[in-house]
């Protein structure tokens, strides 16, 4: 039962909080109300069983409790006003007792609320790390200690990040709404970027909190699914979900039994998750039919090409180079140029890859570990051992992840002939 409740919390807390924020007009009040409702559920559900629609049950209890509390504490003007507002909401009176309420109708509203909350959490006025923390806390059902462990920061730092973000939104009167059509592309891209950052953070193999990291990827995919459900007509949302599924499919093959990182080319592809690949491919095909390519869709298409290849050698590199060209045309940036150069190295040979890589303005990539790791690999394969060793050294300086360190150190030793 207690495990069921934890799972239900992860799944439902976000949408309950989303609705309560709209009703109560305050993030903290909403969080408290939802937490209280889950405490009540923990007491009651072992006896009564889990209700058919636990999310609606929690939301209704949370709202009723919040109304009661606001009434009790209504000496404070602000809260009195909030309580007053609650009464004015037209659909309030009939549902004072949750049993009397048409729960399905209620859930319809909830869907929209979740979307509002996503846009609020990923408001461009917040720094990216704050957007990510708030999204995971309010929509992902992760608590502050979990977030602190997942992002390898002290708990106090994470708590302060969340408090500051909430305060900024409150003091600035950030609106609780879905952005208008004109602002939607940019605002949606911010939401997608935050979710993808959660995913990549979870996807990065580390020694320490491996399980929590996996949790992050699971949370990101769940948020991605919610977003696709809420915005089925946004091809970029579909693209992000496909990209995450196709990358996650490779997880079982990414780390060797001894914890070392396995390169894409060397992975045992029989260990890739075929079910995730099939779902990812289906989504990519749906995107292609729409023919409105955006950065997440293109990256998903690249992941799909990899997933379709039975081995590293049989990968359709010309298609991957073409997709990187398309991506670079849409979002010119040095990281995309770097990945394109790596693909060119596969398609036309390492010397061409090195030439492409050296044509990029490397200054923005000076402290970017994957650049030096990729450069080292291409140089080594192009037969420039001394340059490769120097690049491995630079990459090692920038690597904190133990699995990656071991991988790079092994490669360096091989190239140096040690």
């Amino acid at each position: 039962m207690s495990e069921d409740l934890a799972a239900i919390f992860r799944r439902e807390a976000g949408r309950c909080t989303a609705t309560l924020i709209r009703v109560l007009g305050d993030i903290d009040l909403a969080e408290d109300a939802v937490a209280e409702a889950f405490t009540i559920a923990a007491e009651r559900w072992p006896e009564t069983g889990v209700p058919p629609n636990p999310g609606a049950w929690i939301t209704t209890i949370a709202r009723n409790r919040a109304i009661d509390r606001l009434r009790r504490e209504s000496t404070r003007t602000e809260r009195h006003l909030a309580a007053h507002r609650l009464h004015e909401t037209p659909d309030m009176e009939a549902d004072h007792r949750p049993e009397l309420r048409d729960l399905d109708a209620f859930v319809d509203v909830v869907l929209d609320d979740q979307l509002r909350l996503m846009f609020l959490c990923c408001h461009p006025a917040l720094a990216l790390d704050a957007q990510v923390a708030l999204t995971l806390r309010l929509l992902g059902g992760l608590d502050t200690p979990e977030l602190a462990r997942a992002f390898l920061v002290p708990e106090a730092t994470m708590a302060q990040r969340i408090v500051r973000a909430k305060r900024k939104l409150r003091n600035n009167h950030a609106p609780y709404r879905i952005p208008r059509a004109a602002e939607l592309p940019d605002r949606l891209h911010a939401v997608l970027t935050a979710i993808y950052l959660v995913f990549t953070e979870g996807h990065r193999a580390t020694s320490g909190d491996e399980l929590l990291r996996v949790d992050l990827s699971v949370a990101a995919i769940r948020l991605g699914r919610v977003l696709v459900e809420l915005m089925p007509d946004e091809p970029e949302a579909v693209g992000l979900l496909a990209l995450m599924l196709l990358s996650d499919a490779r997880r079982p093959a990414r780390v060797a039994p001894d914890g070392a990182l396995v390169r894409l080319a060397d992975q045992d592809r029989s260990r890739w998750d075929r079910r995730l690949i099939a779902e990812g491919h289906k989504l990519v095909r749906a995107c292609l039919r729409r023919n409105q390519p955006g950065p997440f869709q293109i990256q998903a298409a690249i992941a799909a090409v990899h997933a379709a290849a039975p081995s590293g050698e049989t990968t359709d590199w010309s298609q991957i180079v073409a997709l990187y060209d398309l991506l670079h045309a849409q979002r010119p940036n040095p990281v995309v140029a770097m990945n394109r150069a790596i693909a060119v190295g596969e398609l036309r040979g390492a010397p061409d890859g090195v030439a492409e890589l050296e044509a990029i303005d490397a200054e923005p990539l000076a402290d970017y570990q994957p650049y030096h790791a990729a450069r080292a690999d291409l140089l080594a394969r192009a037969g420039r051992a001394a340059d490769a060793v120097a690049a491995y050294d630079r990459a090692l300086e920038l690597t904190t992840n133990p699995a990656e360190r071991r991988f790079l150190a092994d490669r360096r030793a091989t190239v140096a002939g040690e």
């Binding site: 408001h123 006025a125 939104l169 600035n172 009167h173 950030a174 609106p175 952005p179 602002e183």
Partner: protein
């Protein structure tokens, strides 16, 4: 001169939309005097409070329903005066 015309047009638009409250342009920071009060003693020093390359050149006070509306107007203001705009809420 170009920015002056742009800013004038923006003020016109702000007035028409009913969000304009107050505007103030500031002369260079070298005109500043800092006044301090310490245990009843008032002291004055020449120059801005903090020496920095970036100085506030003026401000708008506008009245809009929420952050997004404020940010949208800030975008117009940044385009008109060709300088970055910092958006801050007023307390209360």
């Amino acid at each position: 001169m170009r920015t002056k015309h742009q800013v004038d047009a923006l003020h016109q638009e702000m007035t028409e939309r009913g969000i304009w409250v107050f505007v103030g342009g500031l002369p260079p920071a070298s005109t500043a005097t800092v006044v301090r009060s310490n245990a009843g003693e008032t002291s004055m020093t020449d120059g801005p409070y903090a020496e920095s390359k970036e100085q506030m050149g003026g401000f708008w006070v506008i009245e809009v329903p929420d952050l997004d509306a404020a940010l949208e107007w800030a975008g117009k203001a940044a385009a008109a005066c060709e300088r970055p705009i910092e958006v801050r809420p007023l307390q209360g």
